[in-house]
């Protein structure tokens, strides 16, 4: 134990020393940044958060690449179809990545590495431990820190010669025009429907090409919108999907490498557009199915002449964009906060703490867990009976026999045995209780907030996911 104590104090001292060194370096950086601000640059190249194109000093060869640049990007320069011209264009370009998550992570890393002159990133979220399996730009040290800060630090550590701009805010109609207008092209790496409509509309209004990617489960999709007369998001999807058709990674899961692949392809399309090399994926869509190892590229419709935003007679102005309510249009929130239903009267619900009290008192009851079975396999409460909501109707007999068994064990009569229903967050449990009431189990109650509230209020060691 003594040596452990010594180890701990030695480590603490080392942490203190390193923290002091870190503070010193940060101070020196800010002094240098202040000095840089006072030096006038041609075209106002670096000024605060604005992201105008980087200037490249003229060199003897006439292409403007410095010796360091030639060495760093030599493998690009050696590509006959990319070469000096492609690299110079990249260095002068500016790209905005909206969302520093599963798609944005690899996209940002590649864009920084390959020398895009200015990269901006927008996100209001903080890094969470359950992001790290796919959002490979973030590291454990940044858990709890803003994603843009973490992403910017990673990009700077790969390439200190480019400009990285942090937009630590949620993109919304009041800031989108200002932010997007500073960049040549936009990458949509978001995770929700209203953001996708908003970003596409904003790109149309500002005349910016949009590289759009999406991933969920084991599938991914990719296309380029609003590029040289090609379609916009609304040409393809004039009407938003029903909210029940919009799954999220936090509910449906996602294999980490799948958004990784789509994010890399987004970086590739962005690089092609920025360097004017190759054929961008406009008017076509790439569909990726990881499970069957299949990539399909399909031809999609062109610009719709009657499109409300980019069509011939469209009157969608900047003002209209700012006034447009994307959450109302898509009936889903811009942020990905989980839904909180309130379907039941208060006397048909109990809190997780109340349930715990009844459990401790030995109350005769049956606990039904209505999550899908693969959720139940992750973690469950002891003695709970897993009947997924989708099969509740056909498996009612299992609840009846569980009630009978409990009565025999506890010696209570039928009406004295309660039914409690639990799920992950407390939405499906309410739907299940509604059904149970309808078929005569009128005393069934749901546990408010589900297993998440159990973990929060009763057992902090209970795993959450």
């Amino acid at each position: 134990m003594e040596s452990n104590g010594e180890d701990a104090s030695r480590i603490l001292r080392e942490i203190e020393t390193l923290k002091a060194a870190k503070a010193d370096i940060e101070h020196r950086i800010s002094v240098l940044e202040a000095r840089l601000r006072d030096i006038p640059l041609p075209n106002d190249a670096i000024s605060g958060v604005s992201c105008s194109s980087m200037s490249i000093a003229d060199s003897a060869a006439g292409h403007g690449l410095s010796p360091d640049m030639i060495y760093r990007y030599s493998r690009h320069l050696l590509l006959p179809s990319f070469g000096v011209q492609g690299q110079s264009s990249l260095l002068k370009s500016s790209i905005l990545v909206v969302g520093a998550g599963g798609l944005g992570a690899p996209a940002l890393l590649y864009l920084a590495a390959c020398g895009v002159g200015c990269i901006g990133t927008v996100d209001h979220d903080v890094v969470e431990l359950n992001n790290l399996h796919r959002q490979i730009i973030h590291t454990e040290a940044y858990v709890g820190q803003p994603k843009v800060q973490s992403a910017a630090a990673a990009c700077r550590s790969i390439n200190s010669t480019i400009q990285i701009v942090e937009h630590k805010e949620a993109l919304c109609t009041s800031n989108a025009l200002e932010i997007l207008s500073k960049y040549d092209l936009v990458i949509d790496a978001t995770d929700n429907v209203p953001s996708r409509y908003m970003i596409s509309d904003c790109c149309v209004v500002l005349g910016k090409p949009l590289v759009s990617g999406a991933a969920l489960g084991l599938e991914g999709q990719l296309t380029v919108y609003n590029y040289k007369g090609g379609p916009c998001y609304r040409c393809l999807f004039p009407t938003p999907p029903p909210t029940t058709a919009c799954q999220r990674c936090s509910d449906s899961g996602v294999l980490g490498v799948v958004p990784g692949i789509i994010g890399c392809l987004q970086a590739l399309e962005a690089i092609k557009i920025a360097s004017a090399v190759g054929e961008p994926l406009s008017g076509r869509m790439l569909l990726f199915d990881a499970l069957s190892a299949r990539i399909r590229i399909v031809k999609i419709r062109g610009r719709l002449s009657q499109c409300e935003v980019c069509g011939e007679n469209a009157t969608f102005t900047q003002q209209k964009f700012q006034d447009f309510d994307y959450e109302k249009f898509t009936r889903s929130p811009l942020s990905t906060t989980p839904l909180k239903l309130n379907l039941l009267p208060a006397d048909s619900r109990i809190t997780s703490k109340e349930y715990n009290d009844r459990l401790v008192n030995g109350e005769a009851h049956v606990l039904v867990d209505v999550r899908p079975s693969h959720h139940f396999n992750i973690v469950s409460l002891p003695k709970s009976l897993n009947i997924p909501l989708s099969s509740l109707e056909t498996r009612m007999s299992e609840i009846s026999s569980a009630l009978k068994e409990e009565e025999e064990q506890k010696g209570s009569n039928h009406s004295g045995t309660s039914i409690y229903v639990v799920c992950r967050r407390g939405n499906d449990s309410q739907r299940a209780v509604e059904y149970l009431h309808k078929i005569g189990f009128t005393s069934a109650k749901d546990i408010i907030g589900g297993l998440e509230s159990w973990a929060h209020d009763v057992d902090p060691n209970f795993p959450t996911y």
């Binding site: 991933a215 969920l216 393809l236 009407t239 058709a245 449906s252 569909l287």
Partner: protein
């Protein structure tokens, strides 16, 4: 008429999680041609096992579903009026929004 139908982007969940279906669909009695409109009602009656509203709206697909006939958006071939031929591959894919 032999056709290959593929479901993706989550739509496969409506047909018992099977993505690829090799099917035989014939034109209705008295009709010479099989159109996408005919195929949609056949799919709804024979393949969709749950929540049909997640696949169709009215007599077409619901918003957010792309239909591809031989790797080509059905908007380019006449949507519901697209005439199908032997060995055609029809893909129904729900757009993804996650990231």
């Amino acid at each position: 008429m032999q056709l290959t139908l593929e479901f993706g982007g989550g739509l496969e969940l409506l047909c018992e999680s099977v993505k690829i279906h090799s099917v035989n669909v014939d034109p209705q009695v008295g009709e010479e041609k099989l159109t996408m409109k005919d195929l949609l009602s056949w799919v709804r009656a024979n393949l969709i096992k749950e929540r049909p509203e997640m696949f169709m709206k009215g007599d077409s697909v619901r918003p957010g579903v792309l239909v591809l006939v031989n790797d080509c958006d059905w908007e380019l071939s006449g949507q519901l009026d697209t005439t199908l031929e032997e060995k055609d591959v029809i893909v129904f894919i729900s757009t993804l929004h996650g990231g």
